[in-house]
Symmetry: C2
Subunit: 109 residues, 2 copies
Amino acid sequence: MLEKTTRINYLYDFYQSLLTPKQRSYMSLYYLDDFSLGEIAEEFGVSRQAVYDNIKRTEQMLEEYEQKLLLFQKFQERSTIFKQIRKILDKQDSNQELTSLIETLEKLD
Amino acid sequence: MLEKTTRINYLYDFYQSLLTPKQRSYMSLYYLDDFSLGEIAEEFGVSRQAVYDNIKRTEQMLEEYEQKLLLFQKFQERSTIFKQIRKILDKQDSNQELTSLIETLEKLD
């Protein structure tokens, strides 16, 4: 369950710009601010079921975007490699310029 | 004009998975296989204007996706950094493992 939440949080991070403002509101209240479905429903004057359906549909859209663009998957692959690179740079007399370039690269993710 | 074509080609590369099959067909015939609008129109049994409108609309969608996701812009930023990294690795007694990790990273783009 926690793992699912983490995944949705990442997908939301990568693809939120492709969602509608309403989808973004519901998702961020539910996943980031830990509102309940009932609280969101009250806030927006809609039924709990409407909020639930919207969030489920949005989660599905996020998964579809990930299937198509693989941004999260590639991010994970790069993270693994960055970890290995950092290990090497920590061991050797590291070139400061190189280390800083790698850091810049990693921050772009 | 050539620069525009190059840009659209890159955007197409990054976002083609978000297009419909018809949009992909028109775009790839027009931009990759160098068909004329008339040839595509004949191939699909539609008017030249219909093909033109579809392609223009698709180009606009690609630009909108880029505005939202910045995949091409980030790719260009990373490319610049990879170039600088390669320069450093070429100069120093390069660590083979490090060089190969950087190559793997670059291939993920």
